[in-house]
Symmetry: C2
DNA sequence: ATTTAGTATCTTGCAATGTATGGTACTGTA
DNA sequence: TACAGTACCATACATTGCAAGATACTAAAT
């Protein structure tokens, strides 16, 4: 019951940053967060709380989203984890991409860029009228 | 029981087009399809089956996705509908954007472009390391 | 005439996944 | 010892795309 207040602060801050994008961001996010997490882990090993903070700078997310996601990634063999003590709080669980995780990251990135291209084609020219 | 075979053909074709993008497209799609539908309707009125065909040229979707979506759009007041007979089959239900639908389309488009920018920043530079 | 194929719409139950909510636990400071 | 900050986790829920299957009309082939 102690850190509860701080917990909510994080959520509030995350919400403020992406203010005005709330109508459907919730839906846009589906699936893309996995790519974001993999992309960040491709740069260096990180712990869960760190990922929440990094990602929530740009995209409003909460911890209840990241931790289950990371568990999925581990179950699927895309990451391994190791614990490391911290001077400022509970021990941190670091996540490290496996080879298959790196491969997944490349593949998802490619698909994402492709997908965006397709969607944008609808937004711009739209499908030609016959 | 008559047109069932043809029904499945459409699905097969749609599947083939986006072959190789199946790992997570399902997730990428969430929410974006609504934007695609609105964007296509912003160009001209269309009927449901037409939308399925247009969209499935680029993104693999099925009818079970579009019709419920269109019902949602109607319930939320973003489109109105009118029936029109056809020489080649069942009568078509056309969908027409309302003013609030047009506004929604503009807003979603803007959010989408913004969202893509944020995600791409993770993929490229990634968040700076402190 | 009956079958088959094409066009068109709709419904139900399922699966995936982000969210809200709330809990645990460790450290350092007042 | 109370509190704030850091860090992790679990459960119940809502949203939404999908699979599967039903219905109905038209037109061409048999």
């Amino acid at each position: 019951m102690y850190g509860t207040v701080c917990y909510y602060m994080l959520h509030e801050i995350a919400g403020k940053i992406t203010e005005g994008c709330d109508i459907m961001n919730i839906q846009f996010k589906k699936g893309v967060l996995e790519l974001c997490a993999l992309a960040l882990l491709a740069k260096k090993n990180r712990y869960g709380y760190e990922l929440v903070n990094e990602i929530s700078r740009s995209i409003s997310i909460s911890e209840g989203t990241i931790y289950p996601l990371l568990r999925r990634l581990k179950n699927d063999g895309y990451v391994t984890t190791y614990l490391q003590e911290s001077k400022e709080g509970a021990p941190r669980k670091y996540y490290q991409l496996t080879e298959s995780g790196k491969e997944m990251e490349r593949q998802l990135k490619e698909e994402w860029l492709n997908f965006v291209k397709q969607v944008n084609s609808f937004l711009k020219g739209g499908a030609k009228d016959e």
